[in-house]
Amino acid sequence: MTKQRRLLLVEDLGLAGQLSPALTQAGWTVQTCTSAREAIYLIKQQEVDGLLIAATLPDERGDVVFYRLSASQPQLRTHTAFFTRTSHEREVVETTQRIDLKIPVTPDQVVRTVNDFYGTSRAS
């Protein structure tokens, strides 16, 4: 039996609510939060296998949170993708060398991205 992989989704509730069902159906255990502060607390509680994060959060830049989280959980250095909304956000995300999911995105596109973290094409 395959181990269920955990995904931390740091986005506003609207987009998170649209994406969570598809990700869950694809076999991911999804934990959502909306702020940098909560993401950092959550990451201390448990190991996660992937991170989807907004390039800009209400209280911090997404790339800054990514650097902090991936320092404590090194698998996130590669297993992270950003949601970007502006060209400026895309420039910042480019310096992280991580995947840039340009809003608007479809649930299938996001599922494919996180499945590719592990080089698997999960049945959705």
Binding site: E38, V64, S70, E91, T95, T96
Partner: protein, 386 residues
């Protein structure tokens, strides 16, 4: 000297200090490398590459026990190694993360220094037109100053952050900046100014449908009302905030606040039940530590000497040295309450005086006032006997 706080911190480590394996020394070298990157751009010559290699080797000597900072400092080099001189906003990302790491380790002076480098870089002619990043950096710098008790500096940087956040057009950040200013006013004892500012934040957050911001502002206004001896009004704010936020750490904080209201209203059994649950199950370690300290207070109020000793032992077993200074202050204040109640009034008085000075150093008039009130009450009570 450019990175004086790091040099001072290394000097404070004493004669046994070794550069190899030192996260302080590696941090100092990385900041110097950032200076060079700003001046010269990405390395080009073989000599430069050798210098970066030596720096990487120095970072690698940081032991596994500090792997998080080892990784962060390595990331600064990675990003600077590939960033173009025009990528300043992206390039400072790992430095902002390093500042946040230092904050989480209570190394406020060092964190403030890192943030000062970021703010001067971003808010310079070659810096950035990304107003969101500049505003975040100023607000973070203000937070460090606030924690260090440098309240005038904190106010200046919060106000600057607010101005830039307003220019950026980001409503969330603008209101977050106002909440920072509200907290500062509350700590300074300016209840009227703080309440008025928070009223506008709450109204604006409601109007713009920003429930997370509204919840933060309600939590802070509730604290203000509690300090103003209006616990029933405070309960209303805390309850609304609880219903608005899905944020677990904020919800835990609010539960602790509601228990504090119950304590003030004399509902000690209810307060104990909430605090015990938080002390056992809160995800946020600071919320757990606060709950334990509040259980010490409740044991004293109930006159239960055995409970007081047991709870205080639990608090002492907690790594309070790694906790924020304000929590440390509260812990010591309630410990002194216990000493006053069950052991020695004179010993407690000496502790109150020390703590009052400490609260003043932290720029927290509210806590200073709480301690002074206790001190004055005890002195008035003891006067006729002497």
């Amino acid at each position: 000297m450019r990175h004086q706080p790091f040099v001072q911190a290394m000097a404070d480590c004493g004669d046994t200090y070794r550069l190899e394996g030192s996260e302080l020394y590696a941090g100092f070298l990385v900041l110097r490398h950032f200076d060079e990157w700003l001046a010269m751009g990405t390395v080009h010559t073989s000599e430069d590459r050798d210098a970066v290699l030596r720096l990487r080797q120095q970072i690698e000597t940081i032991p596994d026990s500090a792997f998080e900072v080892r990784s962060l400092l390595g990331t600064v080099l990675d990003v600077l190694g590939r960033a173009k001189p025009t990528d300043i906003v992206g390039a400072v990302g790992p430095l902002l993360a390093y500042g946040a790491y230092l904050d989480s380790r209570n190394q406020y002076r060092l964190g403030q220094h890192v943030l000062s480098i970021v703010t001067e870089t971003l808010d310079s002619p070659v810096g950035s037109t990304d107003l969101f990043s500049v505003a975040v950096a100023y607000l973070e710098y203000g937070r460090f100053a606030h924690r260090l008790g440098e309240v005038n500096d904190a106010e200046f940087y919060y106000a600057r952050g607010l101005t830039i956040a307003t220019q950026s057009g980001d409503d969330d950040l603008k209101l977050y900046a106002k909440i920072c200013l509200g907290r500062l006013r509350l700590n300074r004892g300016d209840f009227v100014g703080a309440e008025s500012l928070l009223d506008t934040v709450i109204a604006e957050a409601r109007r713009n449908d920003l429930p997370s911001v509204e919840a933060c502002a309600l939590q802070l206004r509730g604290s203000l009302l509690l300090h103003s001896k209006r616990p029933v009004d405070a309960i209303r704010d805390f309850s609304i905030a609880y219903s608005l936020t899905p944020n677990r750490s904020l919800r835990e904080l609010l539960l602790g606040d509601l228990a504090a209201c119950a304590t003030v209203l004399g509902l000690w059994q209810a307060a104990c039940a909430i605090q015990e649950k938080l002390a056992r199950t809160a995800h946020d370690r600071i919320a757990r530590a606060y709950a334990l300290v509040n259980l010490v207070e409740l044991a004293i109020l109930r006159g239960d000497h055995d409970q007081y000793r047991a709870r205080w032992q639990q608090v002492q077993a907690y790594p309070l040295a790694t906790m924020p200074p304000l929590l440390n202050l509260y812990a010591q204040f309630y410990a002194a309450n216990g000493v006053e109640r069950f052991e020695s009034v004179s010993a407690a008085l000496a502790t109150y005086r020390t703590l009052s000075t400490r609260a003043k150093e932290l720029g927290n008039v509210v806590v200073e006032r709480l301690i002074r009130e206790r001190l004055d009450t005890v002195l008035a009570r003891e006067q006729p006997q002497s």
